[in-house]
Symmetry: C3
Subunit: 277 residues, 3 copies
């Protein structure tokens, strides 16, 4: 598969370039996001103030915005961060955490429609909610339960397709099986571990890692690379872990020790193109 070649190349490029990614992300998992980004070979900077957006985006190779645990200043800084990304032409990844919950969050998300992301990563309910907040669909309804999804990945297919059409980029819907959509292409990634749901930040840090890969490759490949690496690293960690904390440690250890041979083999088995008419 040509995709596997591109994925391996992205993993290797990040390791040799150590791209700096600036993240605007939540307080619960900010440490996990940074350590996951560092583990795969990126460099991490985290910001909250609007006046930092321009100088740091100028220095960074990619931007990550995650909508969890907002503070009041986010109403100003997150739209500014997206604007800077677009103006400086740096690829940016959005994780619409808990989309639909609270007026502040929903206002900010609506505003982001004017500076759309290159990549969107969320669970099924968040992807559906985002497409609704951006008025890209009328039929599909979803329901976010806090940070958890009440929808299956495939229920978000149409919403994801609308988002791809609108942004021109890629959408990664994470779940038991991941669904990744790019322009006229769609993929399933199977495998992974259910233990990812027993630690906080699996989704947030995946978004951050996809942003790292977006610094060295196109949006679809970045979304595929991050998602595949997460399935591989979590499946491997589940075998060695006792409980949830050692699972998280083994998982990050695996991210820092990716074997491209193992990853290629894993991709052959778990990455499948989905037929879209």
């Amino acid at each position: 598969m040509k995709e596997v070649f591109e994925i391996v190349k992205a993993v290797e490029e990040v390791r040799s370039q150590n791209p700096l990614v600036v993240s605007w992300t939540n307080f619960v998992t900010i440490n996990f996001v940074a350590n996951a980004q560092l583990a795969v070979g990126g460099r991490a900077a985290m910001c909250f103030l609007p006046d930092e957006a321009n100088p740091i985006t100028y220095l960074a190779k990619a931007v990550y915005i995650n909508m969890g645990t907002l503070q009041p200043i986010a109403a100003e800084s997150i739209p500014q961060a997206a604007k800077s990304a677009v103006e400086f032409n740096k690829p940016w990844t959005l994780d619409p955490v808990a989309a639909g919950l609270g007026d502040t969050r929903n206002c900010i998300i609506k505003e982001l429609k004017r500076c759309p992301p290159n990549i969107i990563r969320g669970n099924a309910s968040e992807v559906i909610a985002l497409a609704n907040l951006w008025n890209l669909q009328t039929s599909q309804k979803g329901k976010v339960e806090g940070v958890d999804s009440t929808n299956t990945v495939d229920e978000a297919f149409q919403s994801a397709a609308e988002l791809v059409k609108f942004t021109g980029g890629a959408v990664a819907v994470s779940g038991e099986t991941d669904l990744i959509l790019g322009n006229k292409k769609a993929y399933h990634i199977t495998g992974g571990s259910k233990m990812l749901k027993s630690i906080t930040g699996a989704g947030c840090s995946l978004g951050g890692v996809i942003a790292v890969f977006s610094a060295v490759t196109d949006s679809l490949t970045a979304a595929l690379t991050g998602s595949l690496v997460y399935k591989w690293a979590s499946q491997k960690a589940q075998k060695s872990a006792a409980g949830t904390a050692s699972f998280q440690n083994d998982f990050i250890d695996n991210l820092s020790l990716i074997s491209v041979d193992e990853l290629s083999e894993y991709a052959q088995k778990h990455l499948r193109e989905v037929n879209i008419q």
Copy 2:
């Protein structure tokens, strides 16, 4: 002991129901709180904005408010979170971290008297300070030293009793021996590990875990269950841990692997009713 039966039932109910708990908590230990809540089988959502209080409390089964590392918006959001909990009739747990320190914190704590918590969990000095801030006693003085207690657990007995009388719920005073008070009942829990004082967040995450149990049982049982589980998991972790970081990992691993048989046996040995005339 009938209590042990109720405790085991709470552990099992959380594992089967996976109740969603919304937490308003501090930045130092927010990740630990979430991971501890997930480890015992709950689901975690963390918030900071007042406009999120109503929609998330509606979805959640219980609420946790922790007074550490306040930001200015807390003056608005924490009273709102308590109000939502009371209005939606969701049990809520308060950790009065550093009660007495700073005007902002003390004002918020005083305001919480109008929407009292079902469960209070703190160290001895915090429990004494809380009873003073709520004018529930006149004789007892305590002194919080940052987040550390300068009082023994039993020095907080009278304050805890006043708080139980006022709230109608339960109070858990954590220390070398824990003191748990409910309506006309009091318990000591011995055992545990001194290493819990060598990692940050043992108290905060215990509050968060008690909140998880409060979603499936009464206040006193929730306070007993969380406290007992912490004594058991920490004592076990101390045996396997090298230093403080591996202690924390082993501790969380143990939370995610609770054996109800081991826990029952542990309870027989370490849980004692205290005679109160």
Copy 3:
């Protein structure tokens, strides 16, 4: 070496006194900072609000201010925290994270010149940027790249010397080899591990640990002790660690298990006075 004797004494004093240190620090690594401070034997309290500065500084033995991930309130609280430290005569340590990035940060840093720190800990680019922001030099230019240095440690020598002259305290420039300057004295510390760059917060937590040591010894010895302990603990962790997460765990475990014999031996080999004319 007389210095080694003082370093060992500082390690032992912290373990017996358990000094309380208040930190004003960033959200990414706040948990790591607290756990590192606890691991070496200190006690940790973290604050963000201006009205907490006076009461907590009064209780604390030392203060740590770290300029990462500022929120708007920092413009008020950080200068207040420095002012309290100076007024209550508590030694304080500054980590000028990302100095030069953003107006809010630069304004605060400039304001701190009026209440100068006893100890400064940063990477080379941050130390150069700080000396520039305080107008202590005209010739040297540096460039911070997010939180990463683009300068070598020795390129910051002159800037560090100007800062020592201005503050009358000590400066620790962290890098592959550390450079520590005090009044008329300078030292190199070699060894350590490159893996410290693969986890977030090595620098931040070192600043926090130096602040702990400043509670029991003079500024130069505190800077030397923290830096040496970090080189020792990281070199040892690298030998036992698989990937980056287990490296961080082993590193903190080592901090909690410092052998003064091992540390003394390590110092003989890795601590060298630098000749300054």
